[in-house]
Symmetry: D2
Subunit: 378 residues, 4 copies
């Protein structure tokens, strides 16, 4: 049984739209059948033709699409929302209201209020909602979460997490279309770097450790002259239970491509994970023994291991991580259709986690605006 899906956003020149489509293709468990790929209907038609879609399922706007697909007998099973941040809320809401399951790129929205409304609506309608924090899908990330949960590094004491990029080090010179909307408050909300990268960090650490943030102290800087939104951020974190953390996100760190790196220190050992080398994690035990766990090795925890498509030494990467999120999402959707779904089957970041990301960003904004003071998350 293949599912059918639609897409909002992802028109010509969109990196992320094509990336979602390829990730879903990899396993071939769902098929793209409908779309509103651009605000320009002409562009939507062009993209749709290129992708082999039927003309009657290429829509003028997402509202029309939500209603039409909601009413069709063979309407889409889920929608993928890959537009700029500021429109996520309205679009997701439209589809949820029509009873359609949603996958939305992160950050989920541009305010906690929006996010919580989506949480409420998804629950009310009993719909599944994937927020595509891509890196959570890596086998090694899942493995790390499993071995931390089973106590391999003891109780977590401190967390060092960073996500530096260098592509926006120079206004106007690099980044093009994406760079522009990301540093524009009208499209991205009040946070740029922290909204884009900080939510990844927050979610990734939470997913790996299970820790819940109690309060944050954030310094959000605008480094490149002429820019309005933050492009370099430091955050001190206190988690419930007493562990601490330090997060760094940057778009002006020349020399880094996409360098999400997370290190977790417990009282029995530590773990280091690096997105650009996602096929392994380094585990160091209290006695000093440094071990590398590679995807595909017998040391990989069983649930994580089940996601691998290739033997060790045959590199998997970004698409596979994303495909793993969709893998669990689609599996759950199929189970829903067949009546066999259970909450425990969910192995992907949900709308609740998306909302937590917004709470994190807003707490940081309050902290930064207040002069770098501690602000409670809640």
């Amino acid at each position: 049984m293949k599912l059918n899906y639609g897409m909002v956003g992802g028109g010509p020149g969109s990196f992320i739209g094509a990336a979602h489509r390829r990730s879903i293709n990899l396993d071939g468990e769902a098929k793209l059948v409908a779309g509103t790929f651009s605000r320009s209907h002409e562009k939507t038609l062009a993209t749709g033709r290129e992708l082999g879609l039927k003309a009657d399922r290429l829509y003028k706007d997402y509202r029309e699409m939500a209603v039409a697909e909601g009413q069709r007998e063979d309407g889409i099973d889920f929608v993928v929302v890959v537009t700029p941040n500021v429109s996520h809320y309205e679009i997701c809401k439209a589809f949820l209201q029509q009873g359609i399951h949603v996958s939305c790129d992160k950050p989920l929205a541009v305010s906690t209020a929006q996010a919580e409304e989506l949480v409420r609506l998804a629950r009310e309608k009993d719909l599944l909602f994937l927020v595509t924090y891509t890196y959570r899908g890596h086998v090694t990330a899942k493995h790390a979460a499993e071995i931390i949960a089973r106590g391999d590094i003891g109780r977590v004491r401190t967390v060092m997490a960073e996500y530096p990029q260098g592509w926006l080090a120079h206004e106007g010179e690099d980044g093009g279309k994406q760079g522009a909307w990301r540093s524009d408050p009208l499209q991205s909300g009040d946070a740029n770097c922290l909204g884009d990268l900080g939510t990844h960090v927050e979610n990734f650490v939470a997913g790996m450790t299970g820790l819940k943030i109690k309060r944050v102290l954030a310094k959000m800087d605008v480094v490149v002259p002429g820019r309005v939104l933050d492009d370099n951020d430091f955050v001190m974190v206190e988690y419930e239970g007493g562990a601490t953390g330090m997060y760094w996100t940057s778009q002006i760190a020349i020399g880094h491509d996409n360098s999400l790196r997370v290190r977790i220190y417990g009282d029995g050992g530590s773990i280091q994970w690096f997105q650009e080398e996602p096929e392994k994690i380094t585990v160091i035990k209290k006695d000093g023994a440094l071990t590398e766990h590679h995807r595909g090795y017998p040391t990989i925890a069983p649930e994580a291991a089940s996601y691998a498509r290739l033997p060790s030494g045959h590199p998997e990467g970004w698409f596979e991580a994303m495909a793993n999120l969709y893998g669990s999402f689609i599996k759950c959707l199929k189970a829903k259709k067949q009546g066999s779904f259970r909450e425990e089957m969910i192995d992907f970041p949900t709308v609740e986690e998306g909302a937590e990301g917004l709470r994190f960003v807003e707490a940081c904004l309050r902290s930064a605006r207040g002069g770098n003071v501690w602000v409670e998350m809640k």
Copy 2:
């Protein structure tokens, strides 16, 4: 325009069949519509159903399939052959004779005579023939070939290439189904490790440097007691023009997963490439400057760069390399259909390169059997 393809081999438990299907899926430019996935028709039917194929295109054997698909109006555009080495020749021949383009896993055949017959047939029928030396598809491998061709490291002097694996270090304990057929002469021919891994090395070095082997001196050892075919091989190489090389392939090198590593030393610099970290190459110039070129960087040569699907720092891997081979193959097939094909469009390893691999293996076998003496390739 999407192409249609069929598959021979790739039934339940086959790693390589699923891997080819996923690689083709990634870009969605061709669709699987026919297959003979197993020698057991029952298994073929099961796999076909699982993949959503129509029953009338699930065949009892490859001969029936070749004839039937060759006669259908809407017959497959190409076939993918992913069976054990020993059957490649007969299967490829059957489809070529029906005028169907072929993609065959490497090694192309188990003897030079077989390989040359396939070369002859493909030329006679004017058909395209891809031999899936996966690693040739990496952006960084293509980049290395381009910059060597344009003289960035000067004239090549010596080549160090190795492809160690450790998964067959212990007879019977590891490797399972694959391990078994690979070390069985009836399924793999006279060479095991050198046929499987050595052909990769030979082809990869040839593709990267353009060097042609003049003669070889090979030592092919059976290390694990009870095994019949080689599992650890050393080869000294002399290329036409005077450069030299040393190749090592092994299946008993504990600690290596799939460690194809190639280092090329010229009189103006050197290049290091490693399959397990395929997103970068290291280039060192005569003055000592060590530079890393990452996929996605502006330093990447333009033709190679055009194959990237993701920005730098978003890891691509094995599937993308394979998808790049299919990308060029399918582009050429479409051009053939539209009458716009030209030879220069071919950017994938061909049946001629597959035949060269067999000549290499046979020369090594003659050298090893002769007591490790120099044997001319021809």
Copy 3:
């Protein structure tokens, strides 16, 4: 001409005393002739005998030694102070007062007031004063400072510096003698981890970038139960001129041995330096080009390069870094003797830099005690 020196501290079981002696030995430009190696005279006598010193220059205490050596015709040219932090001030003062040049391990003292008194005294007496921030001595660290100064990475925007260790992750179990005194306020002052490691970070960044800290916001945590002083510290930094930084020091980070790592991001490129791999630095330019500069390469800046003792590829390490500090110190002392000394010859961390370290620690302590608020350095 060889100089003569004396040592206070460095008795049986002292790591740092032997380390200083070996570093000075490496070049053989100064000879140990006098010492008070322990508070126990017996131990001093034993150590002195072992080192081949004459009995009349093995002293009961440092005061006696300072006076006696100050009066001898052939008295020591300089003293090396390698006692626990809390005694540095009194000992250094005693020797300065006798007109003897001083090398003191870092941190210079346990309060800014002490440190400033030593600065005043050294100036008044016109004496040279080396504070042995070992890592400043690395050829690559000197090289980084030179190329930053000449503008290779443009104007510095942000600094990420960390110095994690794991050896004190468990009270009482590891660390032994050193662990004990380092976490004891009576021997180490009010800061443990930040005094020991934080001063290294502060000084190293200052030496590499020339940046002066304007204000700090510090979180100093006691992680291991039962400990009194900090063992895990986060510091946000603002430098004069607008650059920012984030420092992390830890003694509970299992998996790190001695991992001082400094990354400097400018508007034209960035530099990464790592103490555990001190033979290279990584330089990345705005255009993405990643280059490694290895000690011994022609790319190394000339003044830095002059300190190398071995060709590239022959690893130098910790002793050489320390020996480089002593190299410049001794060269200056000889020049003083010969009347050819000029301030510009100083290429080692001075007592002024030692005092800056104390100001940094005290500002952090005030910040942490004030609830993690910004505190001006001055």
Copy 4:
């Protein structure tokens, strides 16, 4: 008790002479008191003055020195020979004949006949003879030997060893004084690269594994036009007991500084050691577990561990490796003086190992000259 030593060679511009002196200085257990540093007496006098030696122990030539020091009451305890290869034999012989212990740089001589004469003489006179294969002194190299001996990686099956350098990639342009004599048969004997680097490889592998070479098949190439002696060599090796190996040495491999790398594959695991990162070894077990053992960790085997001077994370390097050879040599010499010496105390490469190196080079020369045929070592 300090020993006294003399040096032959090591005059102005000599890298290796200063390197030996610094290595001995590091621990300060022996003192340089006599020397013939150059064939020019003027230069010997200048070097001697610079090093603080007395004029009456600065000799016109090594013969005079051997006789004079042999007769003095306070004559040197050992001599360090650091001249070009071709003179090693005569000089070592002169000192042995005078009953003086010898440390000689490798290769020991330029022919097996010379080497065996030195072996005979050392035994006859009951003298200790250190051949300074520097890399054997690394803690990690000693550790690897210990854990292989105790069976951690099972029975050794195959060995991959290489020692590429790039500094002689261009005749006349690089290398200076050293480059010149190394490629001159009158100073280096019949082998250049294989004599200089190949002997290191042969000795290092023997020391680490205990394997004895049975026969070799060598290809020795002259790559740089105009050169007379080999600068790029491939050697296939068969050891007694059935294991195999492949060695590569090169002076034309641009991109390598001093890259001795040895990988040992057993039936229970493997070990990787790399001279440019000498503070760790990588151990991989049959089950795939990859562990790094760092100098200073509790995992380091006890005898090896005893050589460390610094805690883990404080890099030791080339000088420490050399100092470790001298450490054992001097300890044995002292024991000889005190009558407590036993053969088992020897933990340094001896004259017998030096002779084995010559046998290896000569076997390779015979193989290469015979057209790359198998030649027995004996």
